[in-house]
């Protein structure tokens, strides 16, 4: 009976406090007192959570857990507590453990494949990647209010990429592990920044200026590579792809200037920034990345203002630009022709797409096995075409489920973003989801010949420090949004005394 359960619960609280809840400073009582004090003193103590508040919620959740299914006012304390719980629950633990098992077995097999024995190198790799994955999935979310599910899924995707790279190209695999460890640092910084930052104006301006600054570097110092001039090699930093890092600037600029329901003129700085980025990328002939920037801008614009005519106008403009690009650039014509019929030039322009399709088909449903097959026949098998390699080695079912993992990651990002109370943080989340989603779609669809191939990396899987750093930083932004939403939910539940109802 609900009434009886309420009595049990209230009784427990009263026994603990030995005073009536309001007098003893229950969750509600404390917050009200704090609120009154803060109004009097002018300090913002109203929204501050104290450790005892969390203890109250946890204890209440534990208490109600003994009688599952009980409801008070339609919402159980367990449900309330689940919204603000920091401890990872069973699905997340399962994903983290399965990822650890996958990485351990995969790296041991990769070592056996390349060195004919499981040596110290593979043990060292396992000793680095597995604890890092478990730590970031299970322990770090408790301290940084990160979303444990997103972290676990990201770690799994990175794990798949590292295992595949260690099998087909061990040297690149080792470098990828290093990049993964470094990019986790970038993720944590982004998470902390978004969670605690309240003034975005200066940061956005700085990121925009820095973004334009590093985006022009390849035009000055870069060298032509595969028809594009988008890489730059610096003395201390090594070689990196600036357009990957500028995605962070673009996400911030779009979110900041599109937030708060601004007018078109007030949105202009972000639109101009995107336009300049697109122009520079066109000059570098990095059309794939330019397309990601363009579609992301259009998506965030639509989400921000919901203006269908202007969005359609932008889309039509994009189609016009694509037609113009097709007529201007010879390599675009070749790619479109190879997309339409790769068998017209099987040893030239259509070679890579044909090899990718053959690899996917030869993998079958369950794959040829790790290290089996001939992935090295595919050009760029370690970055652009890694999805074909995965399908060949792990099978098409694994490939489809891998895309499902991406879809869930994006779905979760969108869900967390929609809980945000600020349009700015909401658009940050949507911008991130758009960037990652469009990039994943473009490369996957390009590999399976659904759309013309564009030279972009597969997020989290492909080899490349810049790409991984950029993607993990974007995931850090999502963690920050999740942390903010969790703090706001805590405020909503605890200040209202929601647990007592």
């Amino acid at each position: 009976m609900p009434k009886k359960r309420e009595e049990v619960y209230t009784g427990r609280r009263m026994r603990r406090t030995e005073k009536p809840p309001e007098a003893a400073g229950s969750v509600r009582g404390k917050s009200e007192t704090a609120g009154t004090d803060s109004r009097g003193s002018g300090k913002k103590e109203k929204s501050r959570l104290r450790p005892e508040h969390m203890t109250d919620v946890r204890k209440a959740a534990k208490q109600v857990n003994r009688n599952p299914g009980q409801a008070r006012g339609g919402v159980t304390a367990v449900e309330l507590a689940s919204l603000i719980r920091r401890k990872p629950d069973f699905p997340v633990v399962l994903i983290a453990v399965l990822t650890a098992v996958f990485e351990t077995l995969g790296l041991m097999l990769a070592a056996a494949h390349t060195q004919q024995t499981v040596g110290m190198d593979s043990v060292a790799m396992i000793a680095v990647i597995v604890p890092l994955g478990l730590f970031t999935s299970l322990i770090l979310p408790r301290f940084l209010r990160m979303d444990a599910l997103i972290m676990a899924l990201t770690n799994f995707l990175c794990g798949v990429g590292i295992v595949t790279l260690c099998t087909v190209s061990p040297l690149r695999g080792n470098r990828q592990i290093l990049s993964y460890a470094l990019s986790l640092g970038g993720m944590v910084i982004a998470c902390l920044a978004v969670t605690h930052l309240n003034r975005y104006h200066g940061v956005t301006i700085f990121l925009m200026i820095a973004g334009i600054g590093i985006l022009v570097l390849p035009l000055i110092y870069g060298q032509w590579n595969n028809g594009a001039k988008n890489w730059v090699s610096m003395p201390l930093l090594g070689s990196f792809q600036p357009s990957e890092l500028v995605k962070i600037s673009a996400v911030f600029a779009l979110a900041y200037y599109f937030s708060a329901h601004r007018t078109l003129i007030q949105m202009m700085p972000a639109l101009l920034f995107s336009g300049v980025c697109l122009l520079i990328l066109m000059l570098q002939r990095d059309l794939g990345t330019a397309l990601i920037y363009y579609l992301s801008t259009l998506t965030v614009f639509y989400v921000a203002c919901g203006n269908i005519p202007l969005t359609m106008l932008g889309a039509v403009g994009g189609v016009g630009a694509a037609v113009m690009g097709y007529r201007m650039f010879a390599h675009v014509k070749v790619r479109v022709a190879m997309w339409r019929n790769p068998w017209s030039d099987p040893t030239g322009g259509g070679y890579q797409i044909i090899q990718a399709l053959l690899a996917i088909s030869s993998g079958g449903l369950f794959g040829m096995g790790l290290g089996q097959g001939t992935p090295e026949k595919i050009p760029a098998y370690y970055n652009d075409f890694i999805f074909a390699v995965i399908c060949e080695q792990f099978g098409q079912i694994f490939g489809v489920l891998l895309l499902a993992v991406y879809a869930l990651l994006l779905l979760r990002t969108v869900m967390l973003s929609s809980r945000s109370r600020h349009s700015l943080t909401m658009l940050l989340g949507y911008g991130t989801a758009a960037m990652l989603g469009i990039q994943t779609f473009m490369i996957t669809a390009g590999v399976i010949k659904l759309v013309p191939l564009t030279g972009v990396t597969m997020p989290f899987l492909s080899y490349g420090g810049s790409s991984l750093l950029s993607c993990m930083t974007m995931i850090g932004i999502v963690h920050g949004i999740a942390g903010r939403a969790q703090m706001e939910a805590e405020d909503g539940i605890l200040l209202k005394g929601g647990i007592r109802n």
Partner: protein, 206 residues
């Protein structure tokens, strides 16, 4: 070694398929459960997702009958478009008529179109910023709605930057060139923020 490796890699392939299936199902379950819980909690405890509500009092239409409650998020748009955060099915109302945000116990409303928007009887022009307190009556094209900000609602956790109204527009409002509505509502005063700050400073000095 090769034969053993082939067998092991095949077994690992099957195992990987099972593992990723388990991962997808777990993630799906967690995502959906979490989403359902959030929706349920937000429905029961509105202050988690909403800052307050507007109750239609007078001049309601069929779709917006008297007594209808419209929930207000912490910021958003008000208009006739279904994509707005507060949808008013009122004839001759712009798709996006105004935008608003809730700051503490005040709701700020800025019309962006020339609709007949009044707050406690005072007409707002596009660009005017009205600060509405609990009990303020918002009239949009003849439909009167009473504002109720939830008690003890946490508001925004920290006061983020306020990019909604440009400095020039604020200055215009404060100098009285616009409508100059500082604070409207039952418990509010009609002084501008600058005036209030000056008064507070004087009091502090005293």
């Amino acid at each position: 070694m090769d034969a053993w490796y082939s067998v092991l890699s095949m077994v690992f392939g099957y195992l990987s398929a099972l593992m990723i299936l388990a991962i997808v199902l777990s993630a799906m379950r967690k995502t959906l459960t979490d989403h359902r819980t959030y929706r349920r909690v937000a429905r029961e405890k509105r202050q988690i997702a909403y800052a307050g509500e507007l109750t239609v009092r007078t001049g309601g239409t069929k779709k917006l009958a008297a007594g209808t409650v419209l929930y207000i998020p912490y910021e958003g748009t008000l208009g006739a478009a279904p994509g707005c955060d507060v949808v008013l099915s009122v004839r001759r109302l712009h798709l996006r008529s105004a935008f608003f945000w809730v700051d503490g116990n005040r709701m700020h409303l800025v019309p962006i179109q020339r609709d007949a928007i009044q707050v406690d009887g005072e007409t707002l022009k596009p660009g005017d910023e009205a600060e509405m307190l609990n009990g303020a009556v918002l009239t949009v094209n003849g439909i009167g709605m009473e504002l109720r900000i939830y008690e003890d609602h946490p508001g925004t956790r920290e006061k983020m930057e306020d990019p909604y109204v440009t400095r020039a527009r604020r200055a215009q409002v404060h100098k009285g060139r616009g409508k100059g509505i500082g604070s409207i509502g039952t418990a509010g005063s009609k002084k501008s923020r600058r005036q209030k700050a000056a008064e507070n400073k004087t009091q502090d000095e005293a």
